[in-house]
Amino acid sequence: MADMLKVTLDSRDGLAVVYTEGYINNQGGEEIAKVAYDLIEEGQKCVLLNLAGTKIVNSIGISILIEIIEKMLEIDGKLAFCSLTPTIEKTFHIMGLAQYASIFPDEDSAVAALTS
């Protein structure tokens, strides 16, 4: 049985922080999307995805992340990422995610920038 992505949610200074642990593939992406869309429904306009616990992302996971970014843009919201592995950060740049979502090296710098 394939390992499932674990998603946990926390709040820092009013900012929703979503932590992932595992593979962001189709199932993992859907898990993240479910949490993100619930946050949008609740009126949350800024979400930080902390991927410190994720080593790899596949193309299905990326397409779901792009959809989440588009949803956030439709409500003039913002999705940001932090704590990416160098490989994932490079992938996000090549796939164009970095054009519409900010990427921060760690959670503290992300929270500082997004809540200022």
Binding site: A2, Y23, N26, I56, I66, K90, M95
Partner: protein, 527 residues
């Protein structure tokens, strides 16, 4: 459909929206707004836009309260009002108050926006696919860099496996390494994998041929793909992934995926080979260090101080063919005690021979310190060597005791090539064997003999590495040439005689490798 604000009073109503729809961003919201306006201005309850494909209408867009079919046949339009549109048809349900006129202008705008949105989505898909190719190339490049930048097999294994799983959209993956006649699981990602699999496992053989049968390598998966990791046809491991993901589930991998996995397997092969070569280099370095240490130990077995006896000169020299050798010599004693001379040559070369040299050294030193030198002492040494060496190992040896006062020298030649005694008048005598080499027969008999050294006589005991050194054509130097050389330099300082023997052997071999250990012991009675 969510309620949307009518566009009727908006300045520059649709031009900006059409551009936005074409950009792919927020296109669904824009289409919703145009559809709401169209429903309102045309007084419709609902409408749907359909594309004609293979005698069938399929829905591209729907708006309004009434349910409209997803597909229907050309001859099955039913009770709905229709309006032909480019490439298809529009079904619509008139509103309850009155049957209004269709807002043709807004319908055209809506169709343009829908077209723009679809083109935008197509562009996004193509862009996504192109970017994905970029990620694939970048990954192969990065793995190549990682291989060049580290020899950490653990890190390289992760690099190859994780990128293969990620780029092939696999749900599970595993890396196996060859271990004898089977493959051992090195690491897995995303799920379980069999710990070991025989190289001739029918399921594996089938899998490598693109078929699935038997116990799966990755339990619980449906669509495995496996490629061998090979270097020069030598199997090093397996790279396995399973269950290619899509938004609707999992399926089999395509041919392009197999090619991509093969590229990663090639990278893994390079990484594994590099790591193996590095390990071998480290092992070789360690062995070199040990051999250097062994050579140091063996050098310490040779005398560092030569006997200082008035009226005699002594010299010894040894050069092993490898780090350590099977030749050994000893010179020890004094005018009062007499001088013991030994030259031994263990069969073979290298470390095994060097170990037997140590045994010979210990036995001789112990026995010579306890009893006088004679044939009986050599018999004891032979018995000890026979007991402590392998059956195919033996030692040729000439050992002697010189009485400096009388010049009498008692010797035993145990199967050694006869030492040469160059008399002052230039004549040469050989010291023939008095028994077989040591270590062959434990109770072999040995006979000693005596010669007298007179003023000006030069004795040369040597190993066969001197007389058997060869020209590139295979001609041996031989004892006759050595005798001639000794005769020609008999009055030179002993160090110069040794240099002459060394130089002559090197010149004779004409650049060829030193085939055997070379050792010389010289004694000259000067007065």
């Amino acid at each position: 459909m969510s309620p949307a604000e009518p566009l009727r009073d908006a300045p520059s109503p649709w031009k900006d929206l059409l551009e936005q729809a074409g950009s792919g961003r927020s296109s669904s919201a824009i289409l919703d707004r145009l559809a709401t306006e169209f429903l309102h201005s045309s007084n419709l309850g609902s409408f749907g836009l359909y594309r004609l494909e293979d005698e069938q209408y399929s829905r591209r867009f729907i708006a309004g309260a009434e349910p409209l079919p997803a597909t229907f046949g050309v001859a099955d339009v039913g009770a709905y009002a229709t309006r032909e549109i480019p490439g298809g048809i529009m079904l619509y349900e008139p509103g309850p108050a009155r049957e209004g006129q269709l807002d043709e202008h807004l319908l055209l705008t809506l169709l343009c926006a829908l077209e723009a949105a679809e083109l935008g989505n197509q562009l996004k898909r193509h862009s996504f696919a192109a970017n994905l190719r970029g990620v694939e190339l970048q990954s192969l490049y990065d793995v190549g860099l990682a291989i060049a930048g580290t020899l950490d097999q653990d890190k390289l294994g992760d690099e190859v496996l994780l990128r293969a799983v990620s780029l092939l959209d696999a749900r599970v993956g595993a890396l196996y390494l060859r271990d004898g006649d089977e493959y051992r699981l090195d690491r897995t990602f995303g799920g379980d994998a069999r710990e070991r699999v025989a190289s001739d496992d029918p399921g594996l053989v089938a899998l490598l041929e693109g078929e699935t049968s038997g116990e799966p390598l990755l339990p619980g998966t449906q669509y495995p793909l496996c490629v061998p990791i090979e270097a020069d046809v030598k199997p090093l491991g397996l790279l396995v992934v399973a269950d290619k993901e899509s938004r609707t589930g999992v399926g089999p991998f395509a041919e392009a995926d197999e090619r991509m996995l093969g590229l990663f397997a090639n990278q893994a092969a390079i990484a594994l080979e590099n790591a193996n070569l590095h390990r071998q280099a480290l092992e070789k370095e360690r062995l070199e260090r040990e051999l250097d240490l062994a050579a140091d130990i063996q050098r310490q077995l040779l005398p560092t101080v030569l006997p200082d006896v008035e009226g005699y000169e002594f010299a010894g020299w040894s050069r092993p063919a490898r780090h350590v050798g099977g030749d050994y010599y000893d010179l020890q004693g004094s005018a009062e005690e007499g001088v013991h001379l030994v030259l031994g040559d263990v069969s073979g070369k290298g470390m095994p021979a060097a170990l037997l040299v140590s045994t010979l050294h210990s036995a001789l030193r112990l026995l010579l310190s306890a009893r006088p030198f004679d044939a009986e002492l050599v018999r004891s040494v032979n018995s000890h060597i026979a007991d402590s060496s392998a059956a195919n190992k033996f030692i040729t040896m000439t050992a002697a005791r010189l009485d400096p006062t009388s010049g009498s020298m008692r010797y035993v030649n145990a199967g050694h090539n006869p030492p040469l005694l160059v008399r002052r008048d230039g004549s040469i005598e050989e010291l023939p064997p008095g028994g077989m080499p040591l270590g062959i027969v434990g109770n072999a008999p040995y006979a000693d003999a005596s010669i007298d050294l007179k003023a000006g006589d030069l004795l040369c005991i040597f190993s066969d590495g001197i007389t058997e050194c060869e020209t590139p054509e295979g001609e041996e130097y031989g004892p006759e040439r050595l005798g001639d050389l000794l005769r020609s330099v008999a009055e030179a300082p002993l160090t110069e005689i040794i240099e002459a023997i060394d130089r002559t052997c090197v010149d004779f071999a004409a650049g060829g490798p030193q085939g055997d250990d070379q050792t010389v012991v010289l004694v000259r009675r000067s007065a």
